[in-house]
C-alpha cells in the first residue's frame, strides 16, 4: 500500500492552481481567525473527544457499510457496498461537517450562525445543531428551492431557525450562497458562516473535507474487515462535492482504488440545462475560490439545472478540480432520467429510497458494476435518504413503474 499522504492545500488554500481566497478584504481577517482556530483545535484532545462524542451519540456514527446483495446479483458484476450516510441524524452526511463547525464556532465565541442551503439538507443540519446548542440560526435559501423542498423549509422552522428567502438571480443555491456571504460581510464580528460543502475560500474546502473525512475513515476500516482488501472503486455524487471528498479522502493515497464522482447532467450535457461542472466547465472564480465553473465566454456564471436541488450549482469544490487535473479522480455525468431510474431501482431492489443526489452515484454504479468482474468490489456513498424528494419524484410518473 502506498504511504502517500493527502497533500494540500498550501498555507493559502491552493490545490495546484485551484482554491485560494477570492473574497472582499473585509472577510480576510475572519478567514485568518477561522483558519488559526481550526488549526489549533483540529489536534486538540478535548475538541476531538467532544466531536467524537456527538458524532457517535447524536449523529449516529459509525454508519454501516451495507452489502447490497440483491443489487449485486441482479447487476451481475462487482460486489456492491453502500455507505449508509442516509442513516445519519437529519438524513444525510451534512451533519458531520456541521457538528465540527458548530463546536468550532462555540470555541470562537460566535453566538450567531448563518448557512446557505440548496436541497435544504445542510440547512436542516445547521438548524439542528443550532437548536442543540442554543445558537441563533439564519438559513439563506433560494425561493425556487424553497418551493421544491418545502418539507425541509418546514423542518428548519420547526427547529427554530429563520429561513430567509433569496429572490435574487436564479433563486437557487448559488444565490443563497451569495446572500449568505453578503450577510457575513456585514455581521462578521459575531457570526460564523457554516458553509455546507467543500467550496468557498480557504480554509473551508480543507476544513469541510476534514470534517467529512470520517466517512472515508470508517469505510476503509469496514471494507478491510468485510473483504480483507481495499475496494476497486469508490463512487459518490458531486455537487459541491463534500460527501465525495469525505469518502475519497481516505483512499486518495491508495492509487489502486479508482475514485469516481457523478455530476448532474440534468437534461443532458448536449443541452444548456445541466450542472456538470467538471465535465463542461472552465477555470473560474465563484464564491471565494478558483475552481472549475460553468460560465459563458464573458465570464458570466451560467444557469444550471438538475432535478436534484443539492447538485444544482455551477461551481464545484477546488480539490475536485485538482483531482481531475492530476487524474486522481474521474468524473462522469448522470442525467435526470438516469437518476430517477436509479432512485426507483434502489427503492425496489434494496428497500432504500436514496436522495436524488445520491441516486446519481447509484446510477453510475448500475452502469459500471456489470462491466466489472465478480471479484471486484465497489463502494457507493449513499449520502442521503430520499424522503425529501418523494414530492419531486411523484411529479415524474415514469419514475414509479
Amino acid at each position: 500500500m502506498s504511504t502517500k499522504q493527502i497533500t494540500g492545500p498550501d498555507a493559502l488554500g491552493h490545490f495546484g492552481m485551484y482554491g485560494g481566497r477570492y473574497v472582499p478584504e473585509i472577510l480576510i481577517p475572519a478567514l485568518n481567525e477561522l483558519a488559526e482556530n481550526y488549526n489549533k483545535y483540529r489536534s486538540d484532545k478535548d475538541f476531538i473527544a467532544e466531536l467524537d462524542y456527538y458524532l457517535r451519540d447524536y449523529v449516529g456514527r459509525p454508519t454501516p457499510l451495507y452489502y447490497a446483495e440483491r443489487m449485486t446479483q441482479q447487476l451481475g458484476g462487482a460486489k456492491i457496498y453502500l455507505k449508509r450516510e442516509d442513516l445519519c441524524h437529519t438524513g444525510a452526511h451534512k451533519l458531520n461537517n456541521v457538528m465540527g463547525q458548530i463546536l468550532l464556532a462555540r470555541r470562537m465565541g460566535k453566538p450567531r450562525v448563518i448557512a446557505e442551503t440548496g436541497a435544504g439538507q445542510h440547512g436542516v443540519a445547521t438548524a439542528t445543531a443550532c437548536a442543540l446548542f442554543g445558537l441563533k440560526c439564519q438559513v439563506f435559501m433560494g425561493v425556487e428551492d424553497m418551493e421544491r423542498q418545502a418539507l425541509n423549509v418546514f423542518r428548519m422552522r420547526l427547529l427554530g431557525a429563520e429561513v430567509i428567502p433569496v429572490s435574487s438571480g436564479t433563486q437557487t443555491l448559488k444565490d443563497a450562497t451569495s446572500e449568505a456571504i453578503r450577510d457575513w460581510v456585514t455581521n462578521v464580528s459575531d457570526t460564523h458562516y457554516i458553509i455546507g460543502s467543500v467550496v468557498g475560500p480557504h480554509p473551508y474546502p480543507m476544513m469541510v473535507r476534514d470534517f467529512q473525512s470520517v466517512i472515508g475513515r470508517e469505510t476503509k476500516k469496514q471494507i478491510l474487515e468485510k473483504e480483507g482488501r481495499l475496494p476497486d472503486c469508490v463512487l459518490a455524487c458531486v455537487g459541491g462535492g463534500s460527501n465525495a471528498m469525505g469518502i475519497f479522502s481516505a483512499f486518495v493515497p491508495d492509487e489502486e482504488v479508482e475514485l469516481i464522482g457523478a455530476e448532474a447532467a440534468g437534461e443532458g450535457t448536449d443541452t444548456d440545462r445541466h450542472c456538470a461542472t467538471l465535465t463542461m466547465g472552465s477555470p473560474g472564480v465563484l464564491h471565494g475560490s478558483m475552481s472549475m465553473l460553468l460560465q459563458d465566454d464573458d465570464g458570466q456564471v451560467q444557469l444550471t439545472h438538475s432535478i436534484s436541488a443539492g447538485l444544482d450549482y455551477p461551481g464545484v469544490g477546488p480539490e475536485h478540480s485538482y483531482f481531475q487535473e492530476i487524474g486522481r479522480a474521474s468524473y462522469v455525468s448522470i442525467t435526470d432520467a438516469q437518476a430517477l431510474e436509479a432512485f426507483r431501482y434502489l427503492s425496489q431492489t434494496e428497500g432504500l429510497i436514496p436522495a436524488l443526489e445520491s441516486a446519481h452515484a447509484v446510477a453510475h454504479g448500475m452502469q459500471l458494476a456489470p462491466t466489472l468482474g465478480k471479484n471486484s468490489v465497489m463502494i457507493i456513498c449513499l449520502s442521503g435518504r430520499g424522503d425529501k424528494d418523494v414530492h419531486t419524484v411523484a411529479k415524474c410518473p415514469e419514475a414509479v413503474s
Binding site: 477570492y22 478584504e25 473585509i26 451569495s178 453578503r182 473560474g284 464573458d298 465570464g299 458570466q300
Partner: protein, 271 residues
C-alpha cells in the same frame, strides 16, 4: 504622469478633494453610460468608476445588484465596456478626456477574458486603473505584475477589519489611490458616516503617500463633506445608480448631473 496622479495633484493645488462617482456600465445600456459619464464629469465628478457587471455580485447591495441585472439584460460585455471608454475618450470636452476612469469588478471576468489581454485592452481603451472587489493581496501578485507593465493602476481596498500589517501590504502593492471601505457590509446607501472611519483613514495615511478615498454607504452632500475633512476623496455609488434607475430617460442626464453638482458642492475645501 498618469491621469490619476495628475488629477490628485491638481486637486491638491486647488485645496480640493476628489468626488469619485460610481455607476454600473450598461445600465440601462452602454450608449447611455457614455453620456452619463460625460455629463457627470462636466458636473464635477473628478474620477469615474465604472462597474463591469458580473452575474454574481456578492459584495453588492440591492441597488447595484439590480443595476447589474439591468446591464446584463442589455447585453453588456467586458469588451463592450472597454469600447465605451474608448468613446468617452473621444468626447470634445477636455475635462472628460482628462478625467481618470477606473473599472470596478470581480476577478472572474478578468480571468476569463485573460488577464494579460485584459490589461492591454483596458490600457489601450484609455482606462486608468482597476479595482477588484474579490482579489485581496494574497491572490493579487500576478495581476499586479501584468497591470504594472501597461501602467494600469491597481487600486487596493482596505476595510475596517484590515490589520495594520494588511494596510501596509495593500499600500505597498497598490497604485493610483487606496479605496477605503467605510464600514462592514455591502454597497448601498446609509444614513450616517461611521465614527471610527476617521481613525482608519488616519492610519492608512500614516502608512502611505497614496491618496485615500472612502466608499460604501456615501449618498449625500453632508456625507461627502464629513469624509473629505479627513480623506482625499469620497465615492458615491448606489445613490447615483438609484437616480439613473429612477429617472425617466429624457431627464436622466439632467438628474444625474444635478445630483453630482450637489455632491461636489459638499466637498470640504480647505480655504
Amino acid at each position: 504622469m498618469s491621469r490619476i496622479d495628475k488629477c490628485f495633484e491638481n486637486l491638491r493645488a486647488k485645496k480640493d478633494k476628489a468626488l469619485v462617482c460610481f455607476l454600473t456600465a450598461g445600465d440601462p445600456d452602454l450608449r447611455t453610460t457614455a453620456e452619463v459619464v460625460r455629463e457627470i464629469i462636466c458636473a464635477g465628478a473628478d474620477i469615474v468608476e465604472l462597474g463591469v457587471p458580473f452575474s454574481e455580485p456578492m459584495a453588492d447591495g440591492p441597488s447595484i445588484q439590480s443595476a447589474t441585472y439591468r446591464a446584463l439584460q442589455s447585453g453588456t460585455t467586458v469588451g463592450g465596456v472597454l469600447e465605451t471608454v474608448k468613446i468617452i475618450r473621444t468626447f470634445p470636452e477636455q475635462v472628460v478626456r482628462d478625467a481618470p476612469v477606473v473599472l470596478m469588478t470581480y476577478f472572474n471576468q478578468l480571468n476569463k477574458y485573460g488577464i494579460q489581454r485584459f490589461a492591454r485592452d483596458a490600457a489601450n481603451a484609455g482606462i486608468d486603473g482597476v479595482l477588484l472587489t474579490d482579489l485581496p493581496p494574497e491572490e493579487a501578485a500576478e495581476w499586479l505584475e501584468v497591470s504594472k507593465k501597461v501602467e494600469l493602476a491597481s487600486i487596493m481596498l482596505v476595510a475596517p477589519t484590515s490589520t495594520k500589517d494588511r494596510i501596509e501590504v495593500a499600500a505597498n502593492m497598490g497604485s493610483g489611490f487606496i479605496y477605503c471601505v467605510s464600514r462592514l457590509g455591502v454597497t448601498g446607501e446609509r444614513s450616517d458616516v461611521p465614527v471610527e472611519l476617521q481613525e482608519l483613514v488616519t492610519t492608512i495615511k500614516s502608512t502611505t503617500d497614496l491618496p485615500v478615498v472612502v466608499g460604501f454607504g456615501i449618498s449625500k452632500p453632508e456625507h461627502v463633506k464629513t469624509i473629505t475633512q479627513f480623506a482625499d476623496g469620497a465615492v458615491v455609488g448606489s445613490a447615483l445608480v438609484n437616480i439613473i434607475a429612477q429617472s425617466a430617460k429624457p431627464g436622466l442626464l439632467r438628474c444625474a448631473g444635478q445630483f453630482v453638482k450637489e455632491l461636489k458642492a459638499g466637498i470640504n475645501r480647505q480655504e
